[in-house]
């Protein structure tokens, strides 16, 4: 067992864990932070997306111990216009992927603003093709993609171009 410390959604946490515990399990099972979801546990769906020091990552492929000392933000710690936009645009049906979608979108927007290119980047701002490509790490089994893209365009249109 090792003692690790993380700041989770603004509050300092310390916990004794085995090195094999994933960040996702540490959050969900040990800290009761159940916003991040376990869809696949193998990096293939994005439901577990959280922000680590502001960067989006898949918590399922992260060992908690690797993130000792980091600041972790989950959907519980998010207060962002995207949340209302997802409601307005029907950006979900069952909602299982939504916490990951929103954390991922927040990380994606700051990547975009910092000048991160994407596989489809040519020019012309953050249009639909850009959003779909940059959000491809978040799968939605309900197929709410049009609403998700609409919500992000709605928010990004005003502050990222």
């Amino acid at each position: 067992m090792t003692l690790i410390r993380m700041n989770v959604n603004g509050s300092a946490k310390s916990l004794e864990i085995e090195p094999r515990v994933s960040l996702l399990d540490a959050l969900r099972e040990r800290l009761g932070v159940t916003g991040p979801k376990k869809g696949c546990d193998q990096g293939a769906c994005g439901a577990c997306t959280v922000l680590a020091d502001g960067r989006r990552i898949n918590a399922c492929l992260a060992l908690a111990i690797q993130y000792d000392g980091c600041q972790i933000t989950t959907i519980e710690g998010v207060d962002h216009p995207l949340q209302e936009a997802f409601v307005r645009h029907d950006g979900f049906q069952c909602g299982y992927c939504t916490p990951g979608q929103i954390c991922s979108a927040i990380g994606m927007l700051s990547e975009y603003e910092a000048g991160m290119p994407s596989a489809v980047t040519d020019s012309g701002g953050l249009g639909e093709a850009e959003i779909r490509e940059r959000m491809s790490g978040n799968v939605c089994r309900c197929g709410a993609y049009n609403g998700i893209v609409g919500a992000i365009m709605d928010v990004a249109g005003s502050d990222a171009r």
Binding site: I57, S104, G107, M116, E133, G137
Partner: protein, 328 residues
């Protein structure tokens, strides 16, 4: 997941010593190793987290090349202005791989050593010579759509999954490795092995060999990456092509060609390069060269389509580069 000890050394000597101990494994971003450990395919006794080492810089080299620290995250490397300007093929290859989240986690060192995505390698109930030497290969007569057609053996037809490696191979990248015997430099084309009768041995690295950097020689001009896959994003390559092409007066003066998705290692297409060098830069020449490279393909029913797909993708990539060349 089998329990293991975790150490996070802060200097290279300590990391090499820890990594050389029996049962030790280096950990970069963890996106491949953690997955394989959860599946029981990798079972290290000690995990040596290398992300505390000072290997996260991208530096210009005096000769005009670039030195990329082994811990640079895939997303940061793809966004680096020098990479985008001088080695577009590398930025494009990185951005075509995995997802935004995974690229934020994945390191250059880990990407180089990621293991195959052959479905039977991942399935402990299947026979797989790579996972369990001597057990057989269920991919040979099974679901082999993702498998390789060049450089394969009767013991293993798994494809190397990396996009980044294909671009680095075309760019003549050199991998710097520090081990218990000191530091050495290995051309990327010689880092990975073909399967032969020992598909479980994938590289020439020994226990404790730590990848510290990748060095790129001076860029030679226009380059591009093209990836073909089953969906538009967030999928491994069925076929990919990394190419660099220089044309003067209609003739090819410099050609670099590497293929992904078709071989057990990032595949430098030397035969095609030899046919193209000095010759005309037209579609017929591109096609002849592509066909020559793929002439030795050993296909299975599930992946026979890759011959035509790879040929056409080579032609399309070179056509795109030659058009860009004349437009300038």
């Amino acid at each position: 997941m089998k329990p293991f000890a975790y150490v996070k050394p802060v200097d290279i000597g300590a990391a090499v010593a820890a990594g050389a101990a029996p049962g030790a494994k280096f950990l970069g971003g963890g996106t491949n190793l953690v997955d394989l450990m959860r599946e029981g395919i990798e079972q290290p006794d000690t995990v040596v987290d290398v992300t505390g080492l000072p290997l996260s810089a991208v530096d210009d080299l005096p000769n005009g090349g670039l030195r990329i620290g082994a811990l640079v995250r895939n997303s940061d490397l793809a966004a680096d202005r020098r990479v985008r300007a001088r080695y577009p093929v590398l930025s494009q290859a990185l951005l075509s791989g995995a997802s935004g989240q995974l690229r934020n986690m994945a390191t250059v060192g880990g990407n180089l050593l990621q293991r195959t995505r052959c479905p039977y390698f991942y399935d402990e109930a299947s026979a797989c010579n790579k996972r369990d030497p001597g057990s057989g290969c269920d991919a040979l007569d099974g679901f082999n759509r993702s498998c390789a057609i060049l450089g394969v053996s009767d013991d293993c037809i798994a494809a190397h999954p990396s996009d980044m490696c294909v671009a680095l191979t075309a760019l003549d990248a050199v991998v710097e490795v520090t081990g218990t015997g000191g530091t050495r430099r290995i051309p990327l084309t010689e880092l990975h092995r073909l399967p032969g009768q020992t598909p479980h041995i994938e590289t020439d690295l020994a226990p404790g060999d730590l990848i510290t950097a990748v060095e790129l020689p001076t860029a030679t001009g226009n380059s591009a990456y093209r990836k073909v896959r089953d969906r538009a994003s967030y999928a491994f390559a069925l076929v990919s092509v990394a190419a660099g092409l220089q044309i003067e007066n209609g003739a090819v003066t410099d050609i670099r060609l590497a293929l992904g998705g078709v071989a057990p290692k990032p595949w430098r297409a030397r035969q095609a390069e030899q046919l193209l060098a000095g010759g005309p830069a037209d579609e017929a020449a591109f096609r002849r060269a592509a066909q020559a490279e793929l002439a030795s393909a050993a296909v299975r029913p599930g992946n026979a389509f890759k011959v035509a797909l790879a040929t056409n993708t080579i032609v399309a990539t070179l056509r795109e580069l030659s058009n860009e060349g004349t437009r300038r």
